[in-house]
Symmetry: none
Subunit: 220 residues, 2 copies
DNA sequence: CAGCGCCTGTCAGCAAATTGTCAGCTTCTC
DNA sequence: GAGAAGCTGACAATTTGCTGACAGGCGCTG
C-alpha cells in the first residue's frame, strides 16, 4: 500500500516516513501544498496524511479540490492541538480523520490501519452471469447495462438462480425458496413467473432442463 | 438515520440526545453495557456513540463482540482525556473514531456527520440527487435552487434516502431509522409522510419499488 | 388559559401493479 | 405419433401503495 505524507516540518516528516515504512507501507513525502495537491490528484494513493499548515496552498483547499475531482482515498488530517474549529472545517471538507499534533506514532499507526481497513472493506455485492448483473445491495438487476424493473417475486427468482448459477435448480426447490411456507400454489404459477421473467431479461438467460429444473449460466 | 448513544452519565446522555435529535437523527439511549451490546447486536443503527466507561460490560469488549459478529456500523468512542493508550486499543478493536471528554457538541456533530458520510460512501457535506440538494450541516434541503421548509420527520426521510441514494431502501428500514424506538408502526404513517414529502420536493425524486421500498436517484 | 397553527398518525376509499389460474399451444422424449 | 412437460396470453383476484380528510397533540402567542 502506497501512502502520501504531506508535512512541511521535515523532521516530523522523516520520522513519520520511518515509522510507516517499518509498518510495511510505501511512503512518498512532500513538503509543499502545490506538490501535495498535484500528487494526490495524479497518483494513486491508498491513504494521505495531510498537514493543514503547508506552505503554498491551503490544506482545506487541497482536500476540497481532491474531493471535487473525484479522488476518494482516505485522508488523515494533522491539525494544531485544540483548534477544534479547524477540525470541524477539515472534516466537513472531506477529511476522514484528524490527529492533533503532537501525536504518538502508535496512535497515528492505529488510525491509519483503521482508515485503510475501512476503505478496502467495501466489497461489491454483485453477481454477474453473462450479460446479467444482480446487485444484492441495491436490489437491482441489470441486463446489458439496462436496469430492469422487476417485481418482488421475479427478483427472488433471478436472485436465487444467480446465486446458484451453473447448477440445475429443481422446480420444487425454486418453489420452496420463492414462496416459502406458502404451499397454496398448485397450478403452474412458477412457470408463469418464469415466462414473465424471460420477457424482461431475455429468453436465453435461464434455460430449462426438462424434467430437472432451471439453470442460469454455463452448463449449456 | 437512527443512532445509539451508550453513555452512563444521564445528564450528558440527555444533552447529547437533545443535540442529535435537533440535528435530525432518531436517537436511542442506553446506560448499561449489557443493554448497549444487546441493542447494537440486534438493532440496525447508522452509528453508535459509545462511552468506554459503561457499567456492566467493558466498552472495548462490546465493540469487539459487535465486530466479531459482523456488525459494521460506525462507532464513535468517547474516552477520558489524554489516555491515548485507551484510544489505540479502541481503534484497534474496531472503533472508527474517538472523542476525548469533555467535548464540544459541535465537534461531536461534525465527527458524526463525517462518519456517516464515510460509511455510506460520500465525501462531501452536501448530497446532491438530481435537482435536490441536502446540506447535512445546515439541515437544509434545496430543490432547483429553492430552499424548502421541511418538517423534522420529513427531513429525516429525505436525508436517509439521500445518504443511500441509488439503493432501494425497504420501508421497514426507513421506519426504523426515521422513528427509532418509537413503535408507532401501525398504519400507513410512513406512506402518508412520503406523500406529503413528494408534494414538496416533487413527485419524481423518490420513486417507489413496489414490494421492495423506496429509492432516490437513478430510477429505473 | 384559550386560541391558533403546525405536525403527524389514522382511516377509508381508490388506483394500480402483481400474481394465480386456466385453457390452449408448443416442444421434447420415447 | 402419442403423451408428458413446459410455455404463453388473457383474465380475475388479491395485494400494495396513494391520497384526501380528519383529529389529537404540541408549542406558541396574546
Amino acid at each position: 500500500m502506497r501512502l502520501l505524507v504531506a508535512e512541511d516540518d521535515k523532521r516530523i516528516a522523516e520520522d513519520v516516513r520511518t515509522v510507516l515504512t517499518a509498518a510495511g507501507y510505501a511512503v512518498d513525502l512532500t513538503h509543499s501544498g502545490q506538490d501535495a495537491w498535484f500528487r494526490g490528484d495524479t497518483e494513486d494513493y491508498g491513504l494521505v496524511v495531510l498537514d493543514l499548515g503547508l506552505p503554498g496552498m491551503d490544506g482545506i483547499s487541497i482536500l476540497k479540490q481532491w474531493r471535487m475531482s473525484g479522488r476518494h482515498m482516505p485522508v488523515l488530517v494533522l491539525t494544531a492541538r485544540g483548534s477544534w474549529a479547524e477540525r470541524v472545517e477539515g472534516i466537513d471538507a472531506g477529511a476522514d480523520d484528524y490527529l492533533p499534533k503532537p501525536f504518538q506514532f502508535e496512535e497515528l499507526l492505529a488510525r491509519i490501519r483503521a482508515l485503510i481497513r475501512r476503505s478496502v472493506g467495501h466489497g461489491a455485492a454483485t453477481i454477474e452471469v453473462a450479460s446479467l448483473v444482480v446487485d444484492t445491495r441495491t436490489m437491482r438487476v441489470v441486463v446489458d447495462g439496462m436496469p430492469l424493473n422487476l417485481t418482488p417475486f421475479e427478483y427472488r427468482l433471478v436472485s436465487y438462480l444467480a446465486h446458484h448459477r451453473g447448477r440445475v435448480v429443481p422446480a420444487s426447490e425454486l418453489q420452496d425458496h420463492v414462496y416459502g411456507d406458502d404451499f397454496s400454489r398448485d397450478g403452474n404459477a412458477l412457470e408463469a413467473m418464469i415466462a414473465r421473467l424471460r420477457k424482461k431479461i431475455g429468453s436465453d438467460v435461464i434455460s430449462t432442463r426438462r424434467g430437472f429444473g432451471y439453470v442460469m449460466g454455463d452448463s449449456v
